[in-house]
């Protein structure tokens, strides 16, 4: 759809593990779970498009430094559906968190079909000099 987004992904410290590159340059994830990742000075914000998903139908887990966001939504009575382009009733995205982020400091908000997950950055660790001792 838009090949221009790809270089940004490649240069990003956030590896989207479930993204499938099949050799085409215009490969882009479309559908529930599409994400944008924004870095601010104090946090990284992950915003997922989740139209039709309620808070109960979404889950957010952190495992081995990865953020796993999944959802499942109810579908309207299938046999009455006469036309549909809506892609999935469930999705699962796995994103590798930068080591500078603190997985224990995560907040999440859902509004108008957008799930906003904020992961705070770890406080800068102070530089410490270690003395080298000599065997006297």
């Amino acid at each position: 759809m838009n090949g221009a987004t790809l270089p940004a992904v490649m240069s990003s410290p956030f590896r989207i593990a479930d993204r499938v590159f099949d050799g085409r340059l215009d490969v882009r994830y479309v559908g529930p779970g599409a994400v944008s990742v924004t870095e601010t000075g104090s946090a990284t914000i992950f915003e997922f498009d989740v139209p039709g998903f309620t808070a109960d139908s979404l889950s957010i887990d952190v495992e081995d430094g990865r953020l796993i966001v999944a959802g499942r939504r109810e579908e309207a009575e299938g046999d009455r559906k006469v036309y549909s382009e809506r892609r999935m009733t469930s999705f699962r995205r796995i994103l590798t968190l930068d080591r500078r982020l603190d997985p224990s400091a995560i907040t999440a908000d859902l509004a108008n079909g957008v799930l906003k997950v904020t992961v705070a950055r770890r406080p800068e660790s102070e530089r410490r000099r270690i003395d080298v001792r000599t065997a006297s």
Binding site: T5, A8, V9, S12, P13, F14, I16, R28, Y29, V30, G31, P32, A34, V35, S36, V37, T38, E39, T40, G41, T44, E47, D49, V50, P51, G52, F53, T54, A76, E77, R80, K81, V82, Y83, S84, E85, R86, R87, A111, N112, G113, V114
Partner: protein, 151 residues
């Protein structure tokens, strides 16, 4: 508006509702589904994170048009977008309504990022059972005969 956009009509089902293919690539197309509940159609369109003031729904010449713009929130100072898979900017979908839909009674609401449009069918176009009357008008006397045989 080009003439050929009217030739690009994709028939969805029995010509009740037809989807118009877009004539301009500057729009993105939010995904939608159509459900038939006999007395009404329900169109659900995926529009996460759209402000209601930037969302409009119009009916003109038998065409239902969903349009608007999805704006990105202003970035805080020093913020950088690292990955972006979401779609921004102007969007549009057009659906041709058949005469069976009562355009005056179309209703819509926006919740959880879904625009849900209810389009009732005209009463005349609903399937209904038609009573077959006999020419002699003998229905009432016939009922009386049944009653008599039961007693």
């Amino acid at each position: 508006m080009h003439l050929n956009q009217f030739e690009n009509t994709l028939s969805l089902f029995n010509n009740f509702v037809n989807e118009m293919l877009p004539d301009v690539a500057d729009y993105w197309r939010p995904e939608l589904s159509i459900t038939d509940y006999e007395d009404r159609f329900v169109i659900e369109c995926e529009l996460p994170g759209v402000d209601q003031e930037h969302l409009s729904l119009d009916v003109h010449d038998g065409i239902l048009e969903i349009s608007g713009e999805r704006h990105r929130q202003e970035l805080p100072d020093g913020a950088t977008v690292r990955v972006d898979e979401r779609r921004w900017g102007a969007f549009r979908r057009r659906i041709r309504l058949d005469d069976s839909v009562n355009a005056d009674l179309i209703e819509a609401d926006y919740q959880d990022g879904i625009l849900r449009i209810t389009a009732p069918r005209q009463k005349e176009s609903l399937p209904r059972k038609i009573e077959i009357r006999s020419a002699s008008g003998s229905a009432a006397p016939k009922a009386k005969v049944v009653e008599a045989s039961q007693s």
